[in-house]
């Protein structure tokens, strides 16, 4: 009896959900870490994404209502796979953008490929995401720079400034290991010498053993491949242990105000490379104003602009071909789109050709664009140069 009843109830639910399908709604997915340690990155990107969709709805250029489906991947591949499955299960979702962590992207990419659904990566910078998967699967594209590009850019810059000896420290996460690999090869390409290489655990607080090893080699600069907490700890402990006269440098993993906050005075003079400083981009101020107008509770963060552009690329493709997953995916690959940061096209691996990078330096407790800094003007000198 009850069993039949339950089946009836179930059937009711299914009909209800299929009825909704008839309405003119097109959904676009967003995935990113909205909880956990990286939630700040994910929430900012989500808001910017949401902003793009809202603006598109307001523009009246689409004959249907656009809807954001934002799902949390919690920086965890398994959760990401759940979210991706949820997205592709929803027939109204035409395309998605996702992920700040490369392992999560690796877990979800096959799911999107199997379902012929486009995925634009907005924040994960693992090289293989496009070099390998983008090449294999036409559904996959990426709007942010790859990890090796950042390292090459940094190595180039430091080489030019005259740094020749380095100690490389990295954490044992995927990100850290990749940083080490690409920094190492970049430095060698420029003829610099890597005096020591060491790994630390994510979550480690005691950097003294690795730093002590570095002390012995007297490097001009210490490169760290990893994220903020450990970077700040390294910088603080470097000053304690007698590496005061070595430059500390890194890539976008450290590009967070939290670094300056935690490392305090010790942060001064740290050099990093990060995705472009966009304050000079035309339309930037309007974008920021629009973001502020929505009163999101979280700041946009460094990656908001990418997810914003990713959303707009999907929307542009949608406008071209209509709400069909496979066609949208194809259209994205071949798009030529003037976004916030410049003109987007994708190469044969799905990687954007737009190169967007800036050197920043920590100055008085803030990240300052190299071009505007006292270091560039010569008022202050970079650490570690003779």
């Amino acid at each position: 009896m009850k069993k039949k009843l339950s089946l009836l109830v179930m059937a009711g639910f299914l009909t209800a959900s299929s009825a909704a399908m008839a309405a003119d709604v097109v959904k676009i997915g967003f995935m990113g870490p909205m909880t956990g340690a990286n939630a700040a990155q994910g929430m900012g990107a989500k808001n910017a994404f949401d902003l793009a969709i809202k603006l598109a709805n307001k523009s009246g250029e689409y004959p249907y209502t656009l809807e954001t489906v934002a799902l949390d991947d919690a920086s965890d591949p398994a959760t990401g796979a759940n979210a991706a499955t949820k997205l592709v299960s929803d027939k109204e979702v035409v395309a998605a953008t996702g992920h700040w962590n490369s392992p999560v992207a690796r877990a979800t990419i096959p799911i999107f490929h199997e379902n012929n659904t486009a995925l634009i990566v907005w924040g994960a910078i693992g090289v293989d995401l496009t070099d390998k998967y983008g090449k294999m699967y036409p559904e996959i594209t990426r709007v942010c720079p790859k990890l090796d590009a950042e390292n090459i850019y940094l190595a180039d810059f430091l080489n030019e400034k005259g740094y020749k000896t380095f100690s490389v420290i990295h954490d044992n996460s995927a990100y850290g290991v990749d940083c080490q690999t690409y920094m190492d090869s970049s430095l060698k390409n420029f003829g610099a010498e890597v005096l020591s290489t060491d790994a630390i655990n994510v979550g480690e607080k005691d950097m003294m053993p690795v730093l002590t090893k570095a002390v012995a080699t007297h490097p001009q600069a210490v490169y760290y491949g990893g994220v903020v907490t450990e970077a700040a700890l390294l910088k603080l402990q470097m000053n304690k242990i007698g590496l005061k006269n070595s430059l500390f440098c890194g890539i976008s993993g450290i590009a967070d105000e939290k670094f300056n906050e935690v490392a305090g005075k010790s942060a001064e003079g740290t050099v990093i490379v990060k995705p472009g400083d966009s304050s000079k981009v035309a339309g930037w101020d309007a974008f920021v104003a629009a973001y502020d107008a929505e009163n999101y509770s979280e700041p946009m963060g460094a990656y908001g602009k990418y997810s914003y552009d990713a959303a707009n690329i999907i929307l542009a493709a949608l406008k071209q071909v209509g709400p069909d997953r496979a066609k949208v995916a194809e259209a994205i690959r071949n798009i030529k789109y003037q976004g916030l940061l410049g003109e987007y096209t994708f190469d044969e691996t799905g990687q954007t050709t737009l190169l967007d990078m800036t050197i920043m330096v920590s100055q008085d407790g803030q990240w300052v664009n190299w071009e505007d800094s006292l270091y560039k003007s010569g008022e202050r000198k970079l650490i570690g140069l003779k």
Binding site: M10, T35, N82, V88, P103, A174
Partner: protein, 383 residues
């Protein structure tokens, strides 16, 4: 033993529960989910208050055979109900995979009374061995799966060694240490894929058909996850049978005995060494199987899925459901997989609630939702 309880109460009870579960899984809205949880809890409290709960459980206990069939039918129907929503099937499949791991953990925690926080590591070993054999050597799933199980079993034996001479508190420490050690080693070696994990793990192939591939039959499309789900269900059924047989055999009796009183057990010829190692080995084989199924299901394996937290979560599942009660273990696992997935918005509070639930359970209901009961022997001509 009286055996005249009618199965009706049990039927009604399980149908209601089933309907509730199905509705809960179908609902996508956070607030409706929350409402359902509250309603469900209220329903259970009412059922306990009115005595329906006890009557129903009694009826289920007395009609085990019929109820097993019913549960089987219910389970087999479940994926079909969600033909249009592969996401639900995906979550259900994951829950079933974890069920296999917790059935194994129950051997250690429930039957033998050894708290093992390294089940997550065994899960990982199974997954990694299977995945590596697949990705690097191209072995088919039907070889990599047993290999993963065997590797996990051997790991279990090895971990058992330092615990033999030691007591409960040392044992927990050893398992924690082993969980960290295996995590760090996998993380820091290149051939395990290191922190990048192992992508592109292939799907199992059976009779030339790739499991997990979507099938189109005329107008109906069967999502790929559906076939995988049924394969996992088949494995879960095997695991359940094996777990039940182990539990209701000399092995189970011996584990219970060493849990209750080591000295007494030794004086009756039970070798602690042997029983404990068996518990570790068998338990980890289950975890290894679950890990392998997981790796091939997601197609990607990384260290996040073998961390200490996973081990902790698995222990929570067993304690919540009911130690040494197989049905309880399944209930605990399903609850702790499905509810957090529905309440993903509260993800940040997840660990906190696990901690609180664990404390409250230990203080107020240490036997879990479904407590274990002595093995019921029905001997003819007696009683």
């Amino acid at each position: 033993m009286k055996k005249n309880t009618s199965p009706a109460a049990g039927f009604i009870f399980s149908s209601i529960i089933y309907a509730a579960v199905v509705i809960f899984m179908a609902v996508d809205d956070l607030y409706i989910s929350l409402g359902l949880i509250v309603a469900f809890a209220a329903g259970i409290i009412t059922a306990v208050k009115t005595g329906f709960w006890q009557r129903a459980l009694g009826s289920i206990n007395d009609n085990t055979g019929k109820m097993t069939v019913l549960a089987g039918i219910f389970t087999l129907i479940l994926p079909l109900l969600f033909l249009n929503n592969p996401y639900v099937i995906h979550i259900f499949t994951l829950a079933c995979i974890y069920c296999i791991a917790t059935l194994g953990l129950n051997i250690q925690v429930g039957s033998a009374g050894m708290v093992n926080f390294a089940q997550g590591a065994f899960f990982g070993v199974g997954a990694y061995v299977s995945a590596l054999l697949d990705v690097h050597f191209g072995f088919p799933f039907w070889i990599t799966l047993p290999a993963g199980m065997a590797a996990a079993g051997i790991m279990g034996l090895l971990m058992g060694l330092p615990t033999l001479k030691t007591r409960e508190y040392h044992l927990s420490l050893v398992t924690i240490a082993c969980a960290y050690i295996s995590f760090l080693l996998v993380m820091n070696f290149k051939w395990t894929g290191g922190p990048d994990g192992i992508p592109d793990i292939s799907k199992p192939v059976i009779f030339g058909m790739e499991i997990g591939q979507k099938i189109t039959l005329g107008s109906i499309t069967i999502p790929g996850v559906m076939t995988y789900c049924y394969m996992v269900l088949a494995f879960l059924a095997l695991a359940l049978i094996a777990a039940r047989r182990l539990q209701n055999s000399w092995y189970g009796l011996a584990w219970n005995a060493i849990r209750d009183d080591e000295i007494s057990s030794r004086c009756y010829g039970l070798s602690l060494t042997r029983s404990k190692l068996e518990a570790f080995a068998f338990g980890s084989i289950f975890a290894g199987a679950a890990g392998a199924l997981y790796a091939h299901f997601i197609g990607f394996m990384s260290t996040e899925n073998m961390s200490f937290q996973i081990g902790l979560l698995l222990v929570c599942m067993v304690i919540l459901g009911g130690m040494d009660n197989l049905a309880g273990v399944l209930v605990g696992t399903l609850l702790l997989i499905i509810i957090p997935e529905k309440l993903r918005a509260f993800e940040d509070y997840r660990m906190l609630s696990y901690g609180l639930v664990l404390i409250l359970m230990l203080i107020f209901r240490p036997e879990g939702i479904l407590p274990s009961k002595p093995r019921m022997f029905n001997l003819t001509g007696r009683g």
